[in-house]
């Protein structure tokens, strides 16, 4: 099912009469999601991603704008009639019902000509349970399941009625680190095998990048960039996106452009060609540094952290906006990094230049 958002806007009115300040949770969101894609809505907390999900599910009404599922305008359709599957952050499994009853619940709601026989319902429930591999837990209560199992039950419950779209709210946030890795692959697998257009919300950029077809980076209700994960990572539209994606985070410097050269401190580190001169913000990915005795960029060495395959060179620089600079380089450099300073040359495609005032990308 293709999903289209047209100028979608959600404004929460002010609750405090003395300070009438409304909150724009989602601002003018335009997006067309092709059928069968897995979309990650990504952003820090309060960026409007959960509101967007609620608007899609119908639990909240947009202030303005439209939502289409395929060619149907569902903007005014209540949640009950939208046919979406929603997996809540804390799963919202009915605690008094068994796994089987939980999964069957949406099917029992069907009325009239859609009404199913008991056998058909049991069959569909079992099928959904098999898909998420919980068919052996059908008679347990949610309280008797682990977090990961509950998560699967919630997904099965959302999938059993063959929803038009599947929505997942922070699907991995309640799981421990190992389970998170496993579950995100699981979500990818389930999404692939069902082919249902899926939209999930996360604040974890790694999670979003690893499984999404497209990621949508949001901040304060505004969509900053939409694109394939690698493209968004490689070509961030602005400073916020550059900072938000990537672990360890990108290194940000106060810099200047003079005569087509990028200056950090007194050193000209890169030819950036014909862009407006003046003060700018430069950002360098940790993997954009190359340890080089004759390098153009000098930093004060703080320490070296060994990670096995790579080493992390931790340094400082007076123009750095971060407390420390992190450079990820191959472990073969371990011997050559010592002393008070370390010199780097930079990979051209890992250096970005942004406008100082609004973070807009210049280079």
């Amino acid at each position: 099912m293709k999903v289209t958002l047209q100028n979608l806007t959600k404004i929460y009115p002010s609750r405090n009469k003395k300070q009438p300040k409304e909150v724009v949770a989602v601002s003018n969101f335009n997006f067309e999601i092709a059928d069968g894609q897995l979309i990650g809505l990504l952003g820090p907390s309060g960026c409007g991603k959960s509101t967007t999900l609620n608007l899609l599910s119908g639990l909240q009404k947009p202030t303005s704008g439209k939502i289409f599922f395929g060619d149907d305008d569902v903007t005014d359709l209540p949640a009950e009639n939208r046919g979406v599957g929603l997996v809540f952050q804390n799963y919202a499994l009915y605690p008094h019902l068994t796994v089987k009853q939980n999964i069957t619940f949406p099917l029992e709601n069907l009325k009239g000509k859609d009404k199913l026989s008991k056998e058909k319902m049991a069959e569909m429930a079992l099928e959904a349970a098999r898909l998420v591999q919980i068919d052996e837990l059908m008679d347990r209560k949610p309280a008797e399941l682990s977090g990961g199992q509950q998560q699967r039950v919630a997904i099965a419950r959302a999938l059993v009625k063959n929803p038009r779209i599947l929505l997942l709210d922070e699907p991995l946030s309640n799981l421990d680190a190992r389970l998170r890795l496993q579950t995100r692959e699981e979500i990818r697998r389930i999404q692939r095998s069902t082919g249902i257009t899926t939209i999930f919300v996360t604040h974890d950029q790694e999670e979003a990048m690893s499984i999404s077809d497209l990621i949508v980076v949001m901040k304060e209700g505004v969509v900053h960039q939409i694109g394939k994960p690698q493209e968004v990572y490689d070509e961030p539209a602005n400073l916020f996106v550059a900072k938000f994606l990537g672990t360890p985070p990108i290194n940000v410097f106060n810099a200047a452009v003079k005569e087509g050269k990028l200056f950090i401190g007194e050193e000209a580190v890169l030819n950036v060609g014909n862009i407006a001169e003046g003060e700018v913000v430069a950002a360098i990915r940790p993997e954009g540094f190359v340890v080089d005795k004759n390098g153009v960029f000098t930093c004060d060495l703080e320490r070296v952290e060994v990670m096995g395959r790579d080493i992390s060179v931790v340094a400082t620089h007076k123009e750095s906006q971060n407390e420390v600079i992190r450079a990820i380089v191959g472990s073969e450099n371990l011997a050559s990094v010592n002393g008070a300073t370390v010199r780097f040359s930079l990979k051209r495609n890992k250096v970005y230049v942004f406008k100082k005032e609004n973070g807009e990308r210049l280079f």
Binding site: A79, E80, G85, F88, F105, P106, N109
Partner: protein, 296 residues
């Protein structure tokens, strides 16, 4: 381990002492009285030991009347008051405006004195030489002739007593139920909504099971409270309840002890033990049933 036990008992001591002194000892005493025939307070003497007291009480037409009244009261008021409270609580939970006002209004009877409420019911129901009472006035609009609710036919008196009891016990139930309804996490309702569940089904399949512990608590305490009814009848029909055919078991016990025909602690004790057994049995049945239907 031994040391620990000693400490535990030490901590428990105040409660154990109080309970023992004011609850266990009197209970045993009452049990003893109920088997002592013709016990006399003043002389502290009795004729003999046996089950005559029970036999007397169970053959006393006044007791049988009280038993019948109490059972009718319990069977009618507990379900009616619980269902009505549920209805009002759900309505209260689903309105936004004036919710606090309504909550206060519904809670008012709880803080009102029983006898004062009795007075209100008098105005509503009592026939005087000057007026037929408010209810009769309303009934007359529909062409129904005046009924004497306070000293008239049995069913009319019982009706008033039931309405009165329901009215008095509802505020507490509404309070507890609205609290319980508010504690059900919104997220379950959202989940059900997304799954296309109708309002009625959400109530039956989600709300009700989730508040079932509270509902059963109210039913059990409702049963116990209704079995112990007394002051309500007094407020409506005065202290001579036997004459009004409106006595309750507790009323009978009181009459046997202190009433005009009183002075029979043995009979009173026997009646009290019978009441105790009835309440215990009903409560046990309630608990057994609730184990099947309460989900936590």
């Amino acid at each position: 381990m031994k040391n620990n036990n000693l400490k535990a008992w030490l901590y428990l001591l105040p409660a154990v002492l109080f309970l023992g002194f004011f609850l266990v000892y009197p209970l045993i005493d009452v049990l003893i009285y109920s088997f002592e025939e013709g016990y006399n307070y003043a002389s502290q003497t009795y004729f003999g030991v046996g089950s005559y007291n029970f036999s007397y009480v169970l053959h006393d037409p006044y007791f049988l009347q009280a038993l019948k009244n109490t059972f009718i009261l319990v069977i009618i008021t507990v379900p009616v008051s619980t269902a009505l409270s549920m209805l009002i609580s759900v309505a209260l939970s689903s309105i936004q405006k004036l919710r606090n006002l309504f909550q206060t209004v519904y809670f008012l009877p709880y803080v009102t004195n029983t006898l004062a409420v009795g007075l209100v019911f008098m105005i509503l129901f009592k026939q005087t030489p000057y007026s037929d009472g408010l209810v009769n006035t309303v009934l007359s609009w529909f062409g129904i002739s005046a009924i004497d609710f306070i000293s008239g036919p049995y069913w009319a008196k019982m009706l008033v007593l039931c309405i009165y009891t329901v009215w008095v016990v509802m505020p507490f139930k509404i309070l507890i139920l609205t609290g319980s309804l508010a504690s059900v996490d919104e997220i379950y309702y959202n989940a059900a909504k997304v799954d296309g569940t109708s309002k009625w089904r959400i109530f039956r399949k989600i709300t009700l099971p989730m508040i079932s512990p509270t509902v059963f608590y109210l039913i059990i305490t409702g049963f116990i409270g209704a079995f112990k009814a007394y002051s309500d009848a007094v407020a409506l029909f005065g202290t001579d309840l036997n004459a009004a055919e409106m006595n309750t078991i507790v009323g009978y016990i009181y009459d046997m002890l202190y009433g005009t025909s009183g002075g029979y602690p043995s009979y009173a004790s026997a009646a009290a033990i019978i009441l105790f057994v009835i309440v215990l049995t009903i409560t046990c049945i309630n608990l057994l049933v609730s184990k099947k239907h309460v989900h936590y």
